[in-house]
Symmetry: C2
């Protein structure tokens, strides 16, 4: 088994944090995104969508999509439960994981991809107006998240879950996207400090 | 229990098809998207993200995000399995469900939201250049999907799953987005005809 990794890119980082929380270790193969290695024929044969991460199983099966990879490890190594336990709890984790992905990770990515000079060759064409219109969405969602985090310790409840992993990666991805968490959002900042202090955050 | 519905909008439709495949029936409450009812205070109290669908449980808990709602019903009523069964199969279903969502549903939605005159009040500001740059992405993904569907009956394997539901809703959503499946993609067309013929597709 090996994981095709992409350095500090947000999606492979999600899987690496997840593995660290599970106490698992998987051999990594680096795909040099800066050199557009993910767009070359060799990696396109691994994932026709030209995205990292991808997990190659021992029988050669390729599994892509960070959360699909995480779910695979959750099924093989259930503890600690990072996708919740029981119908209601699992649904709440899925809801928050998806809310964070669609309403925070996606708009931050769009700002990064469509406004950052380093992304000119990767995102063709860059649409600066689209980057701009995503900026207020990031803040609007963070305000909603702040109200939620006033009531509980972690994103999806009182236990750390995959929704916290996606959330942590989002906040850290704001820096290269040249965005910042407003100082007034003290609950988001408290939560981010706590999840950043876990050893897994170094992944 | 009741489901806040939004007529023919793609996301509530996913949940309704899922329920039909399970043989389940849930009372619906319509949210009139045309009148922007989802942006009014009453519905914002249900879902601060102002999106449909939302499932209200008997204890008042609100569950949002179509796939979170579907997973909740899968946990309560496991058969027929629409998220796969076993670590590897569940991961493959999740991978395809997410590939279809991010690489087909998202670009089609962006074309619809940023190019359709009816969306002027909902998508502020519309960014026509962003709509344009999503059009080739739709075709590129459909070409990848066509190669996959040459090898098997359904999106994620030889059994119908939630990935087929998301796929069906995508193809049908192409019409209001003023997009069409190229005639050369015969495997996509064969698969779409088959999933459209299931009684659940009427939902």
């Amino acid at each position: 088994m090996k994981l095709y990794d992409g350095g500090r890119a947000p999606n492979p980082r999600r899987v690496k944090i997840f593995l660290a929380e599970k106490g698992l270790s998987v051999p990594l193969e680096q795909v040099d995104l800066g050199k557009l290695a993910h767009k070359q024929p060799e990696y396109t044969a691994v994932n026709p969508l030209q995205r990292v991460p991808a997990l190659e199983l021992d029988d050669g099966t390729i599994l892509t999509e960070s959360i699909a990879i995480c779910r695979y490890f959750e099924a093989l190594h259930p503890e600690p439960r990072l996708f919740g336990q029981g119908a209601r709890d699992e649904a709440m984790v899925e809801m928050w994981q998806r809310r964070i992905e669609f309403h925070l990770l996606v708009p931050i990515s769009q700002v990064f991809r469509h406004a950052h000079p380093a992304m000119k060759e990767m995102e063709v064409p860059q649409v600066p107006a689209w980057a701009e219109s995503n900026k207020p969405r990031v803040t609007e969602f963070l305000e909603i998240l702040d109200r939620e985090l006033k009531q509980r310790r972690f994103v999806a409840g009182d236990r750390y879950t995959v929704a916290d992993i996606t959330g942590l990666v989002c906040i850290d991805f704001m820096k290269p996207a040249r965005l910042a968490v407003p100082d007034t959002l003290s609950n988001v900042k408290r939560w981010h400090a706590e999840v950043s202090a876990r050893p897994s955050a170094k992944a």
